[in-house]
C-alpha cells in the first residue's frame, strides 16, 4: 500500500501517461513493426535499426546514471565509461564462457586468447562467470564496489568539482591501460568477442536481438523509476542541497560523504547494467570503452539533453547518438564539426539543455524585467558555483 502510494508520487499524472505510452511504443510497437511488416513497407523497422535503438537504450541508461550523480549531487564523474565497461566485461566473460568448444582452438575451458597466450587454466577471477546469475551479480557488484572504494576515498577527503572529475578520469585512464595489457587476462586490445549464445539463445538470431532490445527498454524504464524514487525522496533533496551548498548540509547533520557515496555507487551499478546489456547487442567489449574521451562524451549527452531532469539525459543520449549515427554516414568528413558545434551551442545557449529550451523561451520575456544578478565568480572546485547561470 505504502509502496504503491509512494510510486504514484514519482511522476505527475501526465508524467505517468507519457511514461507508459513511450514504454509501450518502445517495447511493443517497434518489435511488431520489425517482425510483421514486409521490408518494403515504409513503416518497417529494419533489424539494423532495431539493434541501433537497442544500443541507444543502453546509452540512455548510462546517461541516466551519470545524471543521477552529476545532475543531482553536482559531482561530474568522468569515469562512468569505466563502470559501463566493467559491467560490459562481466557480461562479456559470461558470454565467453558460453562459447565452449566452438572457439577456433576448440578448448572447452579456456577462451581463445588464453589458449593463445599459453595459459593452462582459467585464472581465479574468471571462475563462476559461467553462471548467468553470478555474472549478473558481478555486473552490479564490480562497478559498485569500485565506485564505493573510490567514492569513499574522495568524498571523505572532501574532493569536489573539478578535482573529483580529474580523479575519476585518472581512474578510467588507468583502467584502460590495465585492460590493454594482455597479462590481465581480459583479451588485451581485442577484448572479448566472437560470442555465440546467451542463456542458450544464439546472440545473432533476430529473436534474441528483439529480446535484448526489449530487455534494455524495460531495464531503462526500471532504472528511470529507481532514479526517480531516489531524486523525489528526501535523499534527493539532500543531494540537491549538497549540489547547492555542500558544507551547509553538513551543519544540518547529514553525512555528505555517505549521501554522495550512496548515489555514486547506485549510479555506477546502473552504468554497469547498461554495459552488460550493451555488450551482447554490439558483440564486442574492449578497452577502448575505457578511454577518457568516451566518458566525456557521456557528460555531453547529459548536458545536451538537460541535466538534473533524468528524462533530459535519456533524450540527450538519443539525440547525440542519433546525430552521430546519421552524420558519420551522411557527412563522414565533416561530422566532427557538427558534433563539436553542437557541444558549444548547447553549453552557450542551452545551459539547461534541450529540455530547458521551452522553459527558457517562456522565461525570456519575464526575465527581461529583472536584471541578472549573476556575479562573475570563477572559483575552481566549487560545485555550488556551477549553478550560477
Amino acid at each position: 500500500m505504502l509502496l504503491m502510494s509512494r510510486l504514484a508520487t514519482l511522476e505527475s499524472r501526465r508524467g505517468w501517461q507519457v511514461f507508459l505510452i513511450l514504454l509501450v511504443l518502445t517495447i511493443v510497437l517497434v518489435p511488431v513493426l520489425n517482425l510483421t511488416l514486409p521490408p518494403e513497407s515504409p513503416f518497417h523497422v529494419p533489424t539494423y535499426m532495431l539493434s541501433l535503438l537497442g544500443k541507444y537504450l543502453c546509452f540512455a541508461l548510462l546517461a541516466l546514471s551519470l545524471d543521477l550523480i552529476w545532475g543531482y549531487a553536482g559531482a561530474l564523474s568522468l569515469g562512468h565509461g569505466g563502470f559501463f565497461a566493467l559491467g560490459g566485461y562481466c557480461m562479456g566473460m559470461y558470454l565467453m564462457r558460453q562459447i565452449g568448444t566452438r572457439g577456433v582452438y576448440g578448448n572447452p575451458d579456456l577462451p581463445d586468447f588464453m589458449v593463445f597466450l599459453n595459459w593452462s587454466e582459467l585464472p581465479w577471477y574468471w571462475l563462476g562467470f559461467g553462471n548467468f546469475w553470478f555474472a549478473m551479480l558481478m555486473v552490479m557488484l564490480v562497478p559498485g564496489a569500485l565506485a564505493y572504494v573510490l567514492g569513499w576515498l574522495t568524498f571523505r577527503s572532501r574532493i569536489t568539482g573539478v578535482y573529483f572529475s580529474i580523479i575519476t578520469q585518472a581512474m578510467v585512464f588507468a583502467l584502460m591501460l590495465a585492460f590493454f595489457r594482455n597479462e590481465m587476462g581480459f583479451g588485451g586490445n581485442n577484448g572479448l568477442t566472437d560470442f555465440k549464445e546467451i542463456l542458450g539463445y544464439n546472440v545473432q538470431a533476430q529473436g534474441t536481438r528483439i529480446g535484448l532490445y526489449v530487455a534494455s527498454a524495460l531495464v531503462l524504464a526500471l532504472g528511470y523509476l529507481i532514479s526517480r524514487y531516489i531524486v523525489t525522496s528526501k535523499l534527493g533533496r539532500v543531494l540537491m542541497a549538497i549540489r547547492d551548498a555542500e558544507s551547509r548540509v553538513r551543519f544540518l547533520g547529514y553525512s555528505v560523504t555517505n549521501a554522495k557515496l550512496f548515489v555514486f555507487t547506485v549510479s555506477a551499478m546502473l552504468a554497469g547494467i547498461a554495459g552488460a546489456l550493451y555488450v551482447p547487442q554490439v558483440g564486442i567489449i574492449n578497452p577502448s570503452e575505457f578511454s577518457p574521451a568516451n566518458s566525456i562524451e557521456i557528460a555531453v549527452w547529459v548536458a545536451v539533453g538537460g541535466r538534473g531532469t533524468l528524462y533530459g539525459a535519456i533524450l540527450g543520449a538519443f539525440t547525440v547518438n542519433g546525430a552521430k549515427s546519421f552524420f558519420t554516414g551522411a557527412a563522414p568528413e565533416f561530422w566532427l564539426f557538427f558534433l563539436g558545434a553542437l557541444f558549444i551551442v548547447c553549453t552557450l545557449f542551452l545551459p539547461r539543455g534541450i529540455v530547458g529550451l521551452a522553459a527558457q523561451l517562456r522565461n525570456r520575456a519575464a526575465r527581461r524585467a529583472i536584471p541578472s544578478t549573476e556575479t562573475k565568480s570563477k572559483e575552481v572546485g566549487d560545485a555550488a558555483s556551477e549553478h550560477g547561470a
Partner: protein
C-alpha cells in the same frame, strides 16, 4: 458509388503509369552497384586509414571511367567508423542492411576486424581486409589481402640470420601490446628456437599504444646488444609509436650497421612523418614497396598522383593490397555475372591479378593471397631499397605451424573441407 470506383481506377492507372515509368528509368540509368568503404576518417586510426579510403575511391573512379561493371556504374558508400570499434560493427551492419552494398573494403586494426566479423557472418557480407595481420583466422566472409605472418615476419628473420643480413645471433622482439605483435612474436620465438637460438638471446618487450618515451627501452636494447653477439630488433611497434621510437634510435646513435631494426608496420606512409637521414639501413618487410621497378607499379603510382593531384603522395603495401582486392573482386563479379555474395566468393578462388609488385598474385581457397615477400632498407629519401625478395609468391597461411594449437588446423573453403578452422574436412564421407 460510381465516382468512387472511377476514382480507384484512375489512381490504379496512375500508379501503373508511374511504376512503369520508374522501371524504364531504372533500366536506362542502370542502378549502380554499391560497395562500402569502412575506414576511419577521424580518431587515432585516421592517420593510416584515410589513404585506403582514397585508394578505393581512385579504383572506383577508374572503373567507372572504363564503363563500370556489368554495364552498371559502381558507387562507393563511404562511412566514418571514427576509430571506434563498436561503431565499426554498427556501420558494417548499416552498409550491408541499409545500403545493400555488394562488398565492403575496410578495417585496419585487428580489433575492428574482430568487431565486424560477426556482422559479416550473420548477414553473409563480403569484407576485403587489406592489412598485414596476425593470422589465426579464416572467415568465409572475409578475404585477407594483407600479409599473414609467414609472408612477412619469417622471411625477414631468415634474411637477418643469413650472411647478407649480417648473421644475427641475438634478437629483440619489441612490440605494442596487442594481438598482432603478440602472435607474431610468439611465432617468431618458436621459429628462432627451432633454428637453435637460445632463450637468453631473445628479449621480448611490449609497450602501450602510442608509447612516446622510448629512452629506457632504447637504452635497454643497447645494453642487450652489447653482449658481443650481432643483435637485431624485430619491431612490431604500432603506427603512432614508431616516430618517437625511430627518433630516439637515431639520436642515441644506433646505426643500422650496429643494430638493424626490421619493422613490419612501418611503410612509406609512416616514414613520410620521419626524417629518415639517420635511419638509413633499418629494414622493413612487406609484399610491396613503392620503389619496386615494374611497369605496373609505375602506372599505379602515376594513377595515384593524378587522383590525389599531388605528386608527393606515397604508395604503400596496404594500398597495393586494396588494389589487388578490388581488381580481384571486379574480375570475380565479371566471371560470376552477378554481385551476389555466394557466387562472387566461388569466383574469387584462383583469381589472378598482376600486382604492382610485378608478380601474379593469386587468391587461395583459405581466403589468403599468394604474394612475394620483399625486404627493404630505409633510404634517406624515405623510400626503401629492396635488398632481398623471394623468387616466387608465397602462399599466406591462416594458421601458423609454429603455434601448436593452430598447427593442426586447416582453412579451406572448398569441397570437401568448407571450413576455416578444422582438423578434418566437413565432407570427408562425400569426398571419395
Amino acid at each position: 458509388m460510381g465516382t468512387f470506383k472511377g476514382g480507384i481506377k484512375a489512381v490504379a492507372l496512375g500508379c501503373a503509369v508511374a511504376v512503369s515509368a520508374l522501371m524504364a528509368g531504372v533500366a536506362q540509368a542502370a542502378e549502380p552497384i554499391k560497395i562500402g568503404v569502412l575506414h576511419s576518417l577521424s580518431g587515432t586510426m585516421a592517420i593510416s586509414e584515410t589513404t585506403l579510403k582514397d585508394t578505393i575511391m581512385m579504383m572506383v573512379d577508374d572503373l567507372n571511367k572504363k564503363g563500370g561493371l556489368l554495364g552498371r556504374p559502381v558507387e562507393a558508400v563511404v562511412v566514418d567508423p571514427a576509430s571506434n570499434w563498436p561503431l565499426f560493427a554498427e556501420k558494417a551492419r548499416e552498409l550491408i542492411e541499409k545500403d545493400k552494398v555488394s562488398a565492403v573494403f575496410g578495417c585496419w586494426t585487428s580489433v575492428s576486424r574482430k568487431s565486424v566479423l560477426p556482422v559479416f557472418e550473420e548477414t553473409n557480407g563480403l569484407l576485403f581486409y587489406p592489412v598485414q595481420y596476425e593470422g589465426e583466422e579464416s572467415s568465409r566472409n572475409v578475404f585477407y589481402t594483407g600479409a599473414a605472418p609467414n609472408q612477412q615476419a619469417i622471411p625477414a628473420v631468415e634474411y637477418l640470420m643469413g650472411a647478407e643480413g649480417g648473421d644475427v645471433k641475438r634478437w629483440v622482439l619489441a612490440g605494442t601490446d596487442y594481438v598482432y605483435p603478440r602472435t607474431t612474436n610468439k611465432i617468431l620465438e618458436a621459429f628462432l628456437m627451432s633454428k637453435g637460438v637460445a632463450k637468453d638471446d631473445i628479449m621480448i618487450n611490449y609497450t602501450p599504444f602510442g608509447h612516446s618515451d622510448w629512452q629506457t627501452i632504447v637504452a635497454d636494447i643497447k645494453k642487450f646488444a652489447s653482449a658481443g653477439k650481432k643483435t637485431a630488433v624485430v619491431s612490431t611497434i604500432n603506427g603512432d609509436a614508431n616516430v618517437p621510437f625511430y627518433k630516439e634510435l637515431a639520436n642515441q646513435g644506433i646505426k643500422a650497421t650496429d643494430i638493424p631494426v626490421v619493422a613490419f608496420s612501418v611503410g612509406e606512409e609512416e616514414l613520410a612523418g620521419i626524417d629518415t637521414s639517420n635511419l638509413v639501413g633499418h629494414l622493413a618487410a612487406w609484399n610491396y614497396f613503392m620503389s619496386v621497378d615494374t611497369p605496373e607499379n609505375t602506372a599505379f603510382i602515376k594513377q595515384w598522383h593524378a587522383f590525389t593531384k599531388n605528386d608527393k603522395r606515397v604508395t604503400n603495401d596496404p594500398m597495393e593490397a586494396h588494389y589487388i582486392g578490388f581488381k580481384m573482386w571486379t574480375q570475380a563479379v565479371l566471371q560470376a555475372g552477378t554481385t551476389e555474395v555466394n557466387a562472387v566468393r566461388q569466383a574469387m578462388y584462383g583469381q589472378k591479378v598482376r600486382s604492382p609488385s610485378g608478380y601474379d598474385v593469386v587468391m587461395n581457397t583459405n581466403h589468403h593471397l599468394s604474394k612475394p615477400v620483399m625486404i627493404g632498407e630505409i633510404q634517406s629519401d624515405g623510400q626503401f631499397s629492396i635488398v632481398s625478395q623471394t623468387e616466387d609468391a608465397i602462399k599466406g597461411a591462416a594458421w601458423s605451424p609454429y603455434i601448436p594449437e593452430s598447427a593442426k588446423l586447416t582453412a579451406d573453403w572448398t569441397f570437401p573441407w568448407v571450413c576455416g578452422n578444422c582438423t578434418e574436412p566437413k565432407y570427408t564421407a562425400y569426398a571419395k
